[in-house]
Amino acid sequence: MTVKQVREIDRVVIRFAGDSGDGMQLTGDRFTAETASFGNDLSTLPNFPAEIRAPAGTMPGVSSFQLHFANYDILTPGDAPDVLVAMNPAALRANAGDLPKGATIIVDTADFTSRALKKAGYESNPLEDGSLSAYKVHTVDLSGITMEALTPFGLSRKEASRSKNMFALGLVSWMYGRSIDGTVNFLEEKFAGKENIRDANIAALRAGWNYGETTEDFAVRYEVKPAALPSGTYRNITGNLALSYGMIAAAKQSGLPLFLGSYPITPASDILHELSKHKRFGVRTFQAEDEVAAIGAALGASFGGALGVTTTSGPGVALKGETVGLAVSLELPLVLVDVQRGGPSTGMPTKTEQADLLQVLYGRNGESPVPVVAASSPSDCFDAAIEAVRIAVTYRTPVVLLSDGYLANGSEPWHIPDVDTLPAIAPGFATEPNHQADGDEKPAEFWPYLRDPQTLARPWAVPGTAGLEHRVGGIEKLDGAGSISYDPANHDRMVRLRQAKVDGIAGIPDLDVDDPNGDAQLLVLGWGSTYGPIGAAVRRARRAGHSIAQAHLRHLNPMPANTGEVLRSYDRVLVPEMNLGQLALLLRGRYLVDVVSYNRVRGLPFKAEELADVIMEEVGSL
């Protein structure tokens, strides 16, 4: 047996790529789980087509999963893979262009027939024509070896070759010193009752590991030591999962039963799936007939004293707009989660974008102010969900929580919070009449629109509360009493009151600027999921010797009180967005600061290198 060399490195980016049916997302998920357990910091980027099974072996059918892990804290899934695992010619062709010179390619040679090459668009075999000479290429007949290893299980060729992803996982796990125990447990649970399939997959996984251990082709193993994260207990978590947990936690903290109304839509459906599992937390999930019914049912549940939540993506937001307007008028708590994707229209359902900001702020009739909170990383979806609920319940208002496809499916380690430290949320239901006319002998009345002088929130009196029977609706209300009113002055007052309520939301921290040298002239300001790429880019620019200030907006409406002051204290403000400048438009309009917009709408997160170049260009021109 050969003695393998072990080389220590501080970070690596691996991309698994294959047909949509090859199990690349599962392979990536499992490698991520083992990497998380090992204690590395990590960030992931699943990238898959909207079609469930595009024609096999074609470029449109390629699905990939990229994982960046390191022995220090990292912010992005990495710009370019150091290692590409390609399961067929199409996967190679679709991803080779992203590889830097010197990258490692592990390629399954089983399918490099002239027909498959042609299907992938290759005119000659790249494994033979020298076009990959800049890379370290490991050609392995992954499918063939897997099938051979599985001979004892008596599976059909098709069934046996399905385990090739587990072989690849075993091989890469060996290369990076990851355990495969967790995956063995996972397979035991997943295929309980299908013993043959279970054992075949485990055998393939072990065969992959042993292949690395024994074959001369892989002479070096790499070691990436655990990252020095703050002390505590961690787990790996995706944005959609963190958001689901945030909702369950917020329901508990507020004492309100959670009611989710939702209609399936990519990339938000996993929140519906997840919350549907947690009925023992009293969570009711309602798969509605359409987006409108989904938010309608959530609002109906809120009227009854539940925490009404609806989850969707951009096209669903468009359909829900009228009901959000009703919720603004009713002044009831409601959370609308928008997991943004590429638009307009159907756009690119599985790709990420942040182009719904103006839609959620302004996509309704009338003056219809709605608070907006945006999560900045997968794990931040947990805290952002709780914050959205806090605002909704405290201020009796619909709140939009923005996530996006990158956060939804991407994952990172999460420092699990102590549940005792989670903030309390007080619904403060109305229980007594609140109005007594002067000198009136009549009993006290309940005025549904008599506001709290501090928060301007109206009382929330739920059906079943005797003596507080009242009617609400979408027609303008008389200030205080809440009866129908068409009075011009009252309408003007109510429009301003609803705006003032949202503008006056308390508990929003000041915009925190990270300016280590204190002498930066350029501020880079972002919102939402660009937090990671902007942070990584700013680090690069600083390493190159530049002073750069960075800040990130979590509250898009209302914005932190010091936002204008911060913007005006820098010579230049750069705003990178995955849209055509929506936050930039708001900042210019509100604060009269001529911010510089940098925009890419490619369906993919920014690359740190690209943003670092932009930042350094801006600094250089000051």
Binding site: G304, G308, L468, R471
Partner: protein
């Protein structure tokens, strides 16, 4: 207090899916089983809000409002546990006039909103007030899905065969050829028959009544409220401004007995001034047709029949244009578990199987690691 749902009456009736419930048997009011009752005497005034009613003088809505306000005290329910939810249209102003909890929502969406409310609050008596445009045009999708799910609520569908609030356009129940502002040469569309539609949408309780027949209206509302699941009550309602007389042949003393079919549970279906007509099935085609009342093979009405074929057949007797031979009464009244009850059962089952949710354990999951 005759209809008051006492705790005894509210005990589970033990009825199971697919087992018909006899309409004539007193089984209490399963639809209101979980709604608190009150011992305090109630009257119509208690259910009348302080808002001035603003329907046009002579509108059929007044009669329905009066009937509902007059009949609700008989249920003996805690008033604070009653909610009226409406959409948009003339009839949808209804909740403002009821001294209960209420929501006047948006066009067509009341069944969806009421679904969320009823499914999460079994202790409420939930009523939806809607119209032919609201329920059958812009809100058609929500209506059919509410019926299919069998959410525990009662839907009052005010059908005046016209758009009133927008001043007189044809509606999805207007007869073909209707001349209105938007169809100066006549409308081109076939109308919906709301009862047929509801039966096709798997509704468990479907009835039709007329605004001017208070006794009939009240008896139908009472049965609808008692039903557990979604009850759909179509109310023929006159719009005296934009579609006056739309139901005149069914109301006029000179014509009504000849064209109105009153469905009575367990009775052969007969009508006519002299009771001279009857409804029978053509043995060859299975179709429903009108013949002489002494035919030995007259259809015997059974709303509790699990098979909706006969109810549907009866609903098709009405002429889609003139409404002649319109049956009124309860077409269908069968027992099927209500959506909210099934939802609550799943929650209970989950807790029984694994205990109450533990947030700390949920957040930790199964794959964690510790630093420091």
């Amino acid at each position: 207090m005759s209809g008051a749902a006492t705790s005894e009456e509210r005990a589970r009736t033990g009825a199971r899916a697919g087992q018909p419930v006899s309409a004539s048997t007193d089984i209490g009011m399963p639809g209101l089983r979980d709604v608190p009752a009150t011992d305090a005497p109630q009257n119509k005034k208690d259910f009348t809000s302080d808002q001035e009613v603003r329907w046009c003088p002579g509108c059929g809505d007044y009669a329905v409002l009066a009937s509902v306000q007059g009949f609700l005290p008989d249920l003996g329910l805690a008033r604070e546990n009653i909610v009226f939810v409406s959409g948009i249209g003339c009839s949808s102003r209804f909740p403002y006039y009821m001294n209960t909890y209420g929501m006047h929502s948006i066009h067509g969406r009341a069944p969806a909103i009421a679904t969320g409310l009823a499914a999460s609050r079994p202790d409420l008596s939930v009523w939806v007030v809607t119209g032919d445009g609201d329920a059958l045009s812009i809100g058609g999708n929500h209506l059919i899905h509410a019926l299919r799910r069998n959410v525990n609520m009662t839907i009052l569908l005010f059908n005046n065969r016209i758009y009133g609030l927008t001043k007189g356009q044809y509606s999805p129940t207007s007869e073909q050829g209707k001349v209105t502002k938007s169809t100066p040469m006549g409308s081109l569309e076939s109308p919906f028959n709301p009862v047929s539609l509801a039966l096709g949408a798997e509704a468990t309780f479907v009835a039709r009544t007329i605004d001017s027949d208070r006794a009939h209206l009240t008896s139908v509302l009472s049965a609808a409220a008692a039903h557990r699941g979604t009850s759909l009550v179509e109310i023929y309602q006159n719009c005296n401004i934009f579609n006056d007389g739309a139901f005149e042949i069914l109301k006029n003393e000179d014509s009504r007995d000849e064209v109105l079919i009153r469905l009575e549970q367990g009775e052969p279906v007969r009508f006519g001034a002299e009771g001279q007509y009857g409804v029978r099935r053509d043995p060859a085609s299975g179709g429903f047709e009108v013949g002489p009342s002494d035919d030995p093979n007259l259809v015997v009405h059974d709303a509790t029949d699990d098979d909706p074929t006969q109810a549907f057949g009866l609903s098709r007797l009405a002429d889609p244009g003139t409404l002649a031979r319109s049956p009124i009464g309860i077409f269908r009244q069968v027992d099927r578990p209500a959506y909210g009850d099934l939802m609550a059962e799943q929650l209970d089952e989950a807790v029984a199987a694994k205990g109450d949710g533990d947030l700390g354990a949920l957040l930790r999951g199964s794959d964690t690691w510790t630093v420091g």
